[in-house]
């Protein structure tokens, strides 16, 4: 898929994100919009997956774990736009009886979701388990995992980091949405997490830093990452929370806040319509 096509899909996903959280009057748009571009590229261009033959065991396909489980708006939109379930279902997000739970659930039989997540810091361990399972089965496919930079304050992320290197999980490709924001403010002011690139390198991972909003940079990072070299890979995507809408960009205030109706109108106007159409 060409960059301009990805751009169109990403625009539509951002429209979906905003319309979903506004319809639900809750949810997490900020981080969803900072991770939209590279997740669109991953699911539409890079991952080996097939919605028609999807099973939870993931045999013969790539697998994806959303460790930052609050990013369901972007996750569900990407899955629906890939064909895992009807796009219209996005309108049920967070509503009683929905398959589109506030955080991912495997108890609602939603295709594409391999594991529950939401309590932060746990998904990278599950992804390491999937990667080890594939190694034991001789399945050459990859396991992808998305973490947040705020989430990386959880100690378990670093336990998983140690484990993946020790067990040579070079089929594990983790990504961090390095948007520098978390609920209470900039990451640097909340927890002083420091230089994630240096930390992951010292942990023994192969580290790739890319621009999370530049499709050439994203594609280059994925190409590098897929060439296994005996250790796990961490792609740190530099990104802006709320990317694509001027009043939402670059601030923690949109981590878990919902635009007012007039703000939604403004945001959708800024993004523009796409031929794909809203749900």
């Amino acid at each position: 898929m060409e960059n301009h096509e990805l751009k169109t899909i990403a625009t539509q996903i951002r429209r979906d994100i905003l319309r979903m959280v506004c319809a639900a009057k809750s949810g997490h748009p900020g981080g969803s919009m900072s991770s939209t571009d590279f997740l669109a590229a991953l699911f539409f261009n890079e991952m080996k997956h097939d919605p028609a033959t999807w099973t939870r065991s993931g045999k013969g396909q790539d697998m994806f774990i959303l460790s930052a489980g609050h990013l369901t708006p972007v996750y569900y939109s990407v899955l629906a736009r890939c064909g895992y379930f009807p796009v219209e279902e996005l309108g049920t997000f967070r509503k009683i009886g929905t398959r589109l739970q506030g955080h991912p659930s495997i108890r609602k039989s939603l295709p594409g979701v391999f594991q529950a997540s939401g309590s932060l810091g746990q998904g990278l361990s599950a992804a390491a388990g999937l990667a080890l399972g594939k190694k034991l089965d001789g399945d050459p496919n990859k396991v992808w995992c998305l973490c947040g930079d705020g989430e990386s304050e959880e100690g378990q992320i670093w336990e998983a980091g140690m484990f993946a290197v020790h067990h040579n999980l070079d089929n594990l490709i983790a990504m961090t949405d390095w948007n520098g924001q978390q609920i209470d403010g900039p990451v640097a002011s909340v927890a002083g997490e420091g230089d994630l690139a240096a930390k992951w390198e010292s942990w023994g991972w192969r580290v790739i830093v890319a621009d999370g909003h530049d499709f050439d940079s994203i594609a280059e990072a994925f190409t590098l990452a897929k060439a296994a070299e005996g250790r796990p890979t961490m792609i740190l995507f530099r990104s802006d929370m709320g990317h694509g809408v001027d009043f939402m960009a670059g601030t923690h205030k949109w981590h878990g806040s919902v635009p007012k109706p007039e703000q939604l109108e403004d945001a959708l106007k800024q993004l523009g319509e796409t031929p794909l159409g809203d749900f």
Partner: protein, 315 residues
């Protein structure tokens, strides 16, 4: 008593033997530990199946998540550590990744209760049954001796879904039949009686049998039921016995809150209100000491079970 102690053995060795056998029967069975391979008696499994033994280091939270991932790919992982570190330390991981996540993970919980002994209260958990019972759909097993623990391990491997398997450190009497298949959800009436029912689990089952012997010498007929499965609880066997004897004593190496005693009291309250006496750790932490000293100090032995039973009958 129809049971004979064939020689003291630790229940964790029963787990080790069961794990090895389960591994031989099913290549999907894996063993994971957090730097406690020897304590969990995983050595034989690790030697025979080196590729299926996964050392996780002292990182229990990650071990729980890795096991969930392995289970999703179709494996049957057993994660092993001391009871406190594989429950309380990782409750949220077990809740999200294993229980809510419906991952076919088996939690092998060794050194449970106060009989962990000399290491003291930081390592002794008397709260783990409560935590695991609270998780929706979790199966909770607490077998009573080496033979039963081995069979429970085999049953856990075959069960589709998460299982909490609790066992202990010290050598205790081994008295159940060697090859009796373990049926999850079925309590075992070990001694029939008419005056009082002693419901016991884990290390307290042997003590309950000794108590029944002592009571018999005093003309009291005690029924003894082994609740090796704490969840799902065998309500039918419990209610039938309560209807017969009208008095229940529950003995467990666990505190009052959330243990077998409260589980049984709840079933009786809903179905057949019956007086219940409790022999347990009450609302306390443990301390250092030998297992035998601690069991005596905390009143977790045949003598205290018999006293509780007699008190119910005479009051």
């Amino acid at each position: 008593m129809k049971y004979t102690d064939t020689g003291k053995k630790d229940t964790r060795s029963g787990f080790g033997a069961g794990l090895l056998e389960a591994g031989r029967r099913d290549s999907r069975v894996l063993a994971l530990t957090a730097d406690l391979k020897g304590s969990l008696k995983m050595d034989a499994f690790a030697a025979e199946f080196p590729d299926r033994f996964i050392q996780c280091g002292i990182a229990e939270a990650n071990m729980a998540g890795v096991a969930a991932g392995l289970a999703i790919t179709g494996k049957i992982p057993f994660i092993g550590s001391f009871a406190e570190f594989v429950t309380g330390r990782v409750y949220d991981q077990l809740r999200q990744e294993v229980s809510y996540g419906k991952a076919n993970v088996k939690i092998a919980s060794s050194h449970a209760g106060i009989t962990l002994g000399e290491d003291g209260a930081t390592h002794q958990t008397m709260e783990d049954i409560a935590l695991m019972r609270a998780l929706p759909e979790m199966v909770v097993l607490n077998p009573c001796d080496y033979n039963q623990t081995k069979q429970a391990t085999l049953a856990a491997a075959q069960w589709e879904g998460p299982v909490y398997l609790r066992f202990g450190r010290p050598a205790v009497p081994n008295f159940t039949p060697e090859d009796e298949p373990f049926v999850i959800g079925k309590a075992i009436v070990m001694n029939e009686g008419a005056d009082v029912t002693i419901c016991a689990t884990g290390h307290l089952v042997w003590e309950a049998l000794l108590a029944a012997d002592a009571l018999e010498a005093e003309g009291i007929s005690a029924e003894v039921i082994d609740f090796a499965t704490i969840k799902p609880l065998d309500e039918e066997t419990l209610i039938a016995s309560a209807r017969k004897t009208g008095r229940i004593v529950v003995a467990e190496e666990h505190n009052m809150a959330g243990g077998l005693g409260e589980a049984i009291a709840g079933v009786l309250a809903r179905n057949l209100p019956t007086p219940v006496a409790f022999v347990n750790g009450e609302d306390r932490f443990g301390q250092s000491g030998t297992p035998a000293e601690l069991m005596a100090a905390y009143g977790l032995d045949a003598e205290h079970i018999a006293i509780a039973a007699k008190h119910m009958i005479t009051k």
